[in-house]
Amino acid sequence: MFKVSYFLEVLPVIASKVNVTFELTIVATFFALLVGVVIAVIGYYKIPALYQFTRVYVSIMRGTPIVAQLYFFYYGIALYSAFVRDMTPLIAVAVVMSLNMGAFMSESIRGALLSVDEGQKEAAYSLGMTNIQLIWRIIIPQAIRVALPPLFNDIINLIKQTSLAFMLGVPDLMGAAKIEGARTFRYFEIYAAVMLIYWIIIFILGLVHKFLEKKCATMY
């Protein structure tokens, strides 16, 4: 049966690895946003050659499981690249997650850029504004609001995907759970603890999202 005392005992042991999850999430979110913005802008302006390249890239990243991508990168490419071979598993996971999530985020961002209507662009041009002034002062401020909900969804997925880091041997929440499990075989309590921790993190993120959305909504 579920032993509350053991659950409370194992919870802090597993939670002590939450810093790995945070590190991965923050680094991967940052670089995924970067990748996402670059791809979205390429898509927005349909820059020749680059546009076709990014479409193929996004299609592959969205069309294959991230576990396969992780193994392909860390074990496959490593055979031919000393650079990848010398990476720590943590960095390798961060790289793959940034590339993967960047593809998803690019779609969220591209949709948001496109949501700003043609009329406002024409108004800006008619007043003598340049493309850069238009993007910075009119399009991006409005696109952020539209992009917020899908981007938060992407970040939630990213947090959960960090649990795959353990597959390359990164000692995160899942790693701690596995070690604990091998010792006590009390998987019921252990994985309940893991789920609770993820759930709390994502719940808090949801509150942040709600707060930001409310703030944006009252703006205009």
Partner: protein
């Protein structure tokens, strides 16, 4: 209307979207300071295209446009030419097209601070005067989403005036408005006309054009089919297509 200073000159302007669709064919036109020009005509005859060619929102295929001291030749134009041309005009749109992330006041200030690099204080002062002129000063801190169509359009007019343009282009400014809101916008435009603002106005409001315009152009098939005073065009039309058009409009 007093001084006959030439302000806008259009020479041999053509616009073709492809070989089969010639929207504008050899438009030649000179507009003087303080003229209020109304462009009438059936749908799809190139009225809006002509207007949009004047600030290169639509790039013409051939021909030259001069506004103030800037001349842009369609076949050899640069980005900088277009930017300069746009600084001499401004436009009021059918769909208002206010910047949704900015208040009424910020909409009017935007081009003054960003394009003309005026100080915030100076821009604010001018913007408040303009909002007052269009009767919108009480709602200066409202975002466009909180304004009615008529109010948005009046802010749009203030925004267009803010850059102190040589000529203000109106692209069917009342077509998207509910009938009860058309009056407030037309009155605003009328007061600008009385101030001597040079305007080109694409409109379907024949009565309004008759009353406010100093000159009316009738477009048909991508050409200017008739050009004259409101009396000549509306009261004593000679062109058969123009007669037909006026009959059709009056019957509605």
């Amino acid at each position: 209307m007093g001084t006959e200073t030439q302000l806008v000159k259009i020479e041999h302007l053509y616009k073709e979207f492809d070989a089969d669709t010639k929207v504008l064919a050899d438009i030649n036109l000179t507009i003087n300071k303080n003229e209020v020009i109304a462009i009438l005509g059936p749908s799809g005859t190139g009225k809006s295209t002509l207007l949009r060619c004047l600030n290169y929102l639509t790039v013409p295929t051939k021909g030259a446009i001069t506004i103030g001291d800037v001349t842009v030749d369609a076949e050899h134009h640069t980005k900088r030419d277009v930017l300069e041309l746009r600084k001499h005009t401004s436009m009021v749109f059918q769909g208002y097209n206010l910047f949704k992330n900015k208040t009424a006041l910020e909409n009017v200030m935007e081009a003054m601070t960003v394009v003309q690099k005026k100080s915030k204080d100076e821009a604010r002062k001018t913007a408040l005067e303009l909002l007052d002129k269009v009767g919108m000063s009480e709602r200066r801190d409202f975002y466009p989403s909180k304004l009615s169509g008529g109010q948005q359009q009046r802010v749009g007019i203030a925004r267009a005036l803010a850059v102190n343009p040589n000529v203000v282009l109106f692209d069917e400014p009342t077509s998207a408005l509910d009938p009860e809101l058309v009056g407030e916008v037309l009155n605003t435009i009328k007061s600008l006309a009385e101030d001597g603002t040079t305007m080109i106005l694409v409109t379907h409001e024949i009565g309004f054009a008759r009353e406010v315009a100093t000159r009316i152009l009738f477009m048909d098939g991508g050409r200017i089919a008739a050009d004259g005073t409101p009396e000549e065009i509306i009261d004593h039309p000679e062109n058969p297509r123009l007669k037909q058009f006026l009959n059709f409009v009056n019957r509605k």
